[in-house]
Amino acid sequence: MRLNPVLHILGQLLQVVSISMILPLLCGIYYHENESYIFLLCILITLIAGTSLKLLFKEENIRLIEGFSVVSFCWIIIPIFGSLPLYLSGNISFIDAYFETISGFTTTGASVISNVEILPKCILFWRSFTIWLGGIGIVVLALVILPALSVGGRQIFLPEQSGPKLDKLKPQVREVGKIIYGVYIFFTCAQIFLLVLSGMNLFDASCHSFGALGTGGFSTKNTSIGFYNSLKIESVIILFMFLGATSFSLHYTALRGKITYLKDSEFVLYLSILAFSILLVTLDISYQLHENLSVAFRHAIFNVVSISSTTGYATTDFNLWPDFSKLILIILMLIGGCAGGTAGAIKVVRILLLVKVSLRELYKIIHPNAIFQIKLNGKIIPEDILQGVGGFYFLYMITFGLCSLIMLAFGNDLLTSISSVATTLGGVGPGLSLVGPMATYGFLPSIPKLVLCFCMLAGRLELITLFALFIPSYWKE
């Protein structure tokens, strides 16, 4: 791997970040906040760092393997610069600021800030905007870079082998990127518009749109969406969380007039998982907590979609739900949304393939001489993809187990540890027990925070991309 081109691209991206900090700066100036000068400072620092990286290291055509080091590096280094505004505005330590920003860029939405309502508006805006930036990066990552690198069986999404071949990564990224940016920006505007119509002010509407579409989940209120207690706002957010968690290439074809949603088995499975979970949770809450059925349904649908799309908004403290519903939420955290969206975790399509692999083994026992091929949407899935998916699943479970052990070693209780790892690995945000939706991660010691930062990164980068960094031969030329 050559560091030159990697650092060159990193420099370019830092420039983009510095430019995007102009928005919160404008926001600060508009609201006459003192923190505006911080953004001015941060823009300068980031711009200088970016430009010097770009000038110091030569541009070269990058190879695939370097393409994904760009990805890993970006998600580790950009949050360092992104956390500057939070850190410089005082109040929180650098680790906290880094946690918060990683949580934004990985569209997790786990927060260490216990009272967000006293924060200056420009900081809040920047916090939500990191999610939006992260989300767009992820869609490109998911649809272009990971398939080309065959991470965890991602090759399925290479559109008819027209994807990037071995050498030139850039042109393809730009092309697909542009289309997706279009869809993404279109959805953002639509959502801001709808939220304003439902009675939010423009500022809150934009922050929540960034949060919902990026499936992040930072809110501008302490009680999250529960603050508004408005049916309209909830439905708009449910819709866009759902859209954010489903494949953007489906949205793209739909916007061009071809509705192909129901032909996609992943989409259909995702829809049925959602419907089934909502049904079970509704029954459970109304039965165990003696809630009115319609109230129960309203809470169930919002929070189930929020968790399963790995957003993490809440309308109620689901930590107070019965254990049955909590377990369903934990399982949803592990499953996550569809591939090709902004959602995290294992992804529905992988679950679908895994079930098929498992069933095939069963058939093989009964018919030892038959040959079975696994199909998805009518296409035969090659064996190496299936192996990739299996490896990914196993790796995910191991990471989940080990990180939970580390959390436990720091004296956290079982439910807090398990749910905090599940939620950060899946990019959801709130967990259960001490890190529930109405609590924050602020009380944790530094090392568990770093472990969770690692989980957010690992989950977001589909594990293998990050783990490869630990293998010595990766760093050789």
Partner: protein
Amino acid sequence: MMIGISMIFPLIWAFYYREKEIIVFIISIIATFLSGFVLSEIKSQDEGLRLIEGLGVVSLGWAAFSAFGALPFFLSGTLGYLDAYFETMSGFTTTGATVIQNIDILPKSIIFWRAMTQWIGGMGIIVLAVAILPALSIGGMQLFNAESPGPKIDKLKPQVRDTAKILYGVYLIFTAVEIILLIIGGMGFFDASCYTFSTLATGGFSTKNLSVAYYNNPFIEGVIILFMYVSGANFMLHYAALKGKIEYFKNKEFLFYSAIITSSIIIIAADLRYSVYTNIIDAIRYSSFQVVSIITTTGFVSSNFDAYPALSRMILLLLMFIGGCACSTGGGIKNIRILILLKYFYREIYQFIHPNAILAIKVGEDTISDDVIKGIMGFFIGYISIFIIATVLVTSYGIDLITSISSVATTLGNVGPGMGLVGPMYTFSFLPNFVKIVLTFCMWAGRLEIFSVMILFMPDFWKE
């Protein structure tokens, strides 16, 4: 019919102790013999079993044996029929999860029968693991086909007998040795045999409410740790050792198994030293007993591990999933599968960096074929899926998360005690009937390596 014969043993005990349960066993024996006789009349043509049918016989056999094995508990009035079935299934699958709240007041003959079900179950498992699973390539176990002279093509019966005979010999020798050692350690002959049956089969039924903690005797604990450890390891290795070839340290699975045990003991001992015990010796004594007891899926208890700190409990929970070695009486996912999966994902990462490299996965000298890996992967997914579905079912009855998760993990891995309300100092008796049925199913499915039970639910299996 074998079950009927084996019920004669508790009958002898009953005569010996002059208990009124004699009549119960006599009735059970007669009932079992009669139905065994009727069944063998039905298939009197005695066709050679095909492999797949053999598997069906084994799976159904486990369920049916338990139905008859439950008779003594039921007829003696100790338990209701569902509870009796749960208890017997727990015995035959060598789980050791119990619904009997007070064991101390039970008649000796019933206690003996309870311990004996495990011992019989253990024998069945060895045949299953050595002969049937490899031959049918279940869950990647064709891996052991080359090492063991497993049946190749069609007729199951003769070769199963050969392999089984050898291993039964090993099993009997160990049983005798452990009984003698426990008697030296100060147990009575009755208790010594019950504990031995439990240990060798990695079951975990005890004759005392307090399990092994009752004796509070380091020598007895040491003996039991040794034999649990031995029973959790591959019996083919023991056979080789008895023939004079010590191959333990050449076997990667055995090394991996020992490494997991050692590291878990160290972590838990350190964790206990800072919380429960002030004395490092005590911490090591209790942690080594508990770790070996859980990983071998025995489930004996020498201290209440549910009162351990969260880290130790989580490690024990993970050990329930790992389980013993292949071709042992232990349950769980098995060490060899975990080892291969670990190597496999290292290869995934390596190939990711070097896309053109071809790397074979090796365990010891043997190269692992892709079919084995697929089998193991399918097994792993199946195991986790059943775990999740069963946990969801259990929580839906309003049972708390820790209890649900651990009760499913413990029954699926055939361990015995769980945590929370099914912790080592409690029993499974308070659970609603439906949950007991789910857990009984988990024991059954876990013991028969998931797939053997799952095929019974496939329509294709029942076609000619």
